[in-house]
């Protein structure tokens, strides 16, 4: 079957071009993504970095890893989908050829093995070209991430032999997974199909297709419900991605119904031109072929629009959260804001500074020490209590004072749980113990996660991307140690 697969591949290469391109792109995305993820994994800040610079380095690395992980996941999903659709299309187009083989004595299992062998050939070519493309893409992706501030510019991403092996594994898995459905369908091809003048009289909307579509629709509905009722940032983001994936799977499974329906809507306009009329007629007649062509486009557009929608929603939710949680008339954001000058303005009753610091809080419980989730925000305790409406789940904001810490808002019980034996913050080489004053919990969906400390001032921001530069210069802030203090953004309320 391998030799027959090679000959078929060479002779009917036009049918495989789309699949090869999809696998190449998918391998390139996975190659670049895994190179970056492995590069940031265990990466250490450059020697001579201050603690703040080291923390900024780690946060940038973490952001790059998260963002790249999402890219890899979505890239792999889309590649499997496109490969599956193109293989199904190729099987439909080669139905006559495969029936001739059945006529000549090839069993249905051998037909399946033939198609899987062609998938492996596609995988080898895709892995080779995709690996080369991935090396180039790694550089491009790194530069994009660095320009967004989510990648440590000092971090190198060398070519790793293990990643090249991974390219082959990924290509093989993607191709076999994508081709499996088409290969299984090909086993149903009868030798009589070689003799029939009209092919493809089989029903397109099979029971299996209906079941998959129904399950995908149900999963979409469930995820939609929970995404609207779940707070925080991460869970809704993951649910949003899940909705995009299951909804696009549902629509692609229902494409044999959707595409002819859309064609029907276009008919009044199509009738004005014989070419357009013919195109619409073909869309409505060759349902299986049309569905195979439409499915990848449906998924691609769903992913692009869905991701944009997720990001826009998260941005809007963050802005809404800021207005709902804060008792303030104005929010100012910028670098090197002079708080005393703001205080001196007529009409300003209270200026409450919030400054994000590139530091990590260490939480110790039962002998185990971990870094706290979210970002650290330095605040004025009295101003914090006066401007934040949310009542804490536990503790008392009035107890929030110097060397104190408030967890949240936005950190729910899955992130901050139980009692902590020690809460510590490393500031300019000095370890400072903090006392927990309150836990704000998770008030509304979309609330950001932050840990407020009265230690020094930083503006508050959403998780993952501090809106400040990583350089430091002396400045005076309430409660700061006064040495090596950072240049910082300030937001006043």
């Amino acid at each position: 079957m391998i030799s027959l697969a090679l000959r078929t591949f060479a002779d009917r290469w036009q049918l495989f071009v789309g699949t090869v391109l999809a696998v190449t792109a998918g391998v390139a995305i996975v190659h670049a993504g895994m190179t970056i993820i492995l590069g940031v994994e265990g990466a250490v800040p450059p020697s001579g970095s201050t603690p703040a610079e080291a923390e900024a380095f780690q946060q940038a690395a973490s952001g790059a890893s998260t963002l790249t992980g999402m890219t890899v996941m979505l890239g792999a999903f889309l590649t499997i989908f496109v490969v599956g659709s193109t293989f199904n299309f190729a099987v439909d187009q080669r139905r006559g050829d495969l029936a001739i083989l059945r006529l000549g004595g090839v069993t249905s299992r051998q037909v399946c093995r033939l198609l899987l062998a062609e998938a492996l050939i596609t995988a080898v070519i895709g892995a080779a070209v995709g690996g080369l493309l991935g090396v180039a893409l790694t550089g491009v992706q790194s530069r994009i991430l660095a320009s967004l501030g989510t990648f440590p510019e000092e971090l190198a991403t060398p070519v790793r032999p293990a990643i090249l092996v991974l390219d082959l594994v990924v290509a093989g898995v993607v191709c076999l997974a994508g081709a499996w459905g088409g290969a299984r369908r090909a086993t149903a091809i009868s030798p009589l199909d070689a003799l029939r003048r009209t092919h493809d009289t089989q029903r397109v909307m099979t029971v299996r297709r209906w079941i998959v579509a129904a399950v995908a629709v149900a999963l979409t509905a469930v995820q939609t419900y929970f995404s609207a009722t779940t707070g925080g940032m991460l869970i809704p983001l993951l649910l949003g991605l899940g909705i995009v994936i299951t909804a696009s799977v549902a629509m692609s499974r229902l494409s044999p119904l959707l595409v002819p329906a859309v064609a029907l809507v276009l008919m009044p306009w199509a009738r004005r031109s014989p070419v357009a009329d013919l195109a619409v007629a073909n869309l409505r007649d060759a349902i299986r072929r049309t569905a195979s062509c439409a499915a990848p486009m449906i998924v691609l557009v769903s992913l692009v629009m869905g991701l944009q929608g997720i990001l826009d929603t998260q941005t809007e939710a963050s802005a809404t959260e800021a207005t709902q949680l804060l008792d303030a008339d104005l929010v100012a954001q910028g670098e090197d804001l002079d708080l005393e000058a703001v205080d001196a303005i007529d009409g300003i009753a209270l200026a409450a500074p919030e400054t994000v610091v590139p530091l990590a809080i260490r939480l110790t419980s039962g002998g185990m020490t971990t870094n706290g989730p979210g970002t650290v925000v330095a605040v004025d305790p009295e101003a914090f209590g006066a401007t934040h409406r949310q009542r804490p789940d536990s503790g008392d904001v009035a107890e929030f004072g110097p060397d104190g810490v408030v967890f949240g808002p936005g950190l729910d019980s899955t992130m901050i749980r139980g009692h902590y034996d020690e809460i510590a913050l490393e500031v300019d080489g000095e370890t400072v113990s903090l006392r927990e004053a309150a836990r704000m919990g998770r008030p509304w969906p979309g609330a950001t996660a932050s840990i407020s400390t009265a230690r020094s001032c930083r503006p508050r921001c959403s998780t993952g991307r501090p809106p400040f530069s990583s350089s430091w210069s002396p400045a005076r802030t309430p409660g700061s140690s006064g040495s090596g203090s950072p240049r910082r953004e300030r937001r006043t309320c």
Binding site: L4, R7, T8, A10, D11, R12, D97, I100, L101, R102, L103, G104, G105, V106, T107, S108, Q110, S190, P191, L192, A194, L195
Partner: protein, 240 residues
């Protein structure tokens, strides 16, 4: 060699049941050439498909070399198509990706024959295609492609050869060549052939002609000439 006993085959078309074969009983002796003729829709191709094991009759028996093939599984029938049954079709049905030699070798290799290459070359050379061994089907004429198909069908020395309109897509010269080849196979190798055709001239080359109408066997002729065959066919067309 081949014996169909009370074979019936029906198809559903919406709420209508179409009877393609209606209690057909037909026998073909070893080393004979039987042509099957009839008007369009008379069940000729369905008869061929059931006789060759490509389709399963609803009722009745199909005995091939003493073996009832009507109820055999797909894998068993597939293996029979490698060694015991040969096919030649109007559309040639060659694998486009393979050369002439590779097309002929395919069933031999599937059957595990180590001498597949030599047998294929010999079969093609016998049929006058010695200079076209490495040509792909699209590089051959219709008549040449049909001879490749015949070579492929005969390479495994099958018990019986089924031909469905083997000259239907050929010009008269090529058709004549193909019919000469088939006649030679019967006379010199005692090959058993069952051929479906609508061409009285092609049927006249056969030993026996069976006429179908509306799924039933109406009459058979032996040693008839073209005129008599054409007249019988015309009578069947008129009676419709």
């Amino acid at each position: 060699m081949l014996h169909l006993h009370d074979v019936t085959r029906t198809y559903q078309s919406g709420s209508t049941t179409l009877t393609a074969l209606d209690r057909i009983t037909l026998g073909c002796q070893r080393g004979s050439w039987t042509a099957v003729m009839g008007p369009s829709g008379s069940g000729k191709s369905t008869l061929l498909n059931c006789a060759a094991g490509l389709d399963s009759p609803d009722t009745g028996q199909v005995h091939l070399d003493g073996r009832d093939i009507a109820g055999l599984g797909d894998d068993v029938l597939t293996r029979m198509r490698r060694t015991d049954i040969g096919f030649v079709f109007q559309q040639f049905n060659l694998v486009a990706a393979l050369t002439a030699t590779q097309n002929v070798m395919l069933p031999l290799r599937l059957a595990g024959r180590k001498d597949a290459g030599a047998v294929a070359v010999d079969a093609l050379s016998t049929l006058g295609l010695g200079s076209h061994l490495d040509h792909k089907p699209r590089e051959l004429s219709g008549g040449q492609q049909q001879r490749v198909a015949i070579a492929r069908a005969l390479a495994t020395e099958p018990s019986i050869l089924f031909a469905d309109e083997p000259t239907g897509a050929l010009d008269s010269a090529s058709a004549g060549t193909v019919l000469d080849v088939l006649r030679e196979l019967v006379d010199e190798r005692s090959q058993t052939i069952v051929m479906v055709t609508h061409d009285p001239a092609a049927a006249a080359r056969a030993d026996h002609v069976a006429f179908l109408r509306d799924g039933r066997l109406v009459t058979t002729l032996s040693g008839a000439d073209t005129g008599r065959i054409a007249a019988t066919l015309a009578e069947l067309e008129t009676l419709r």
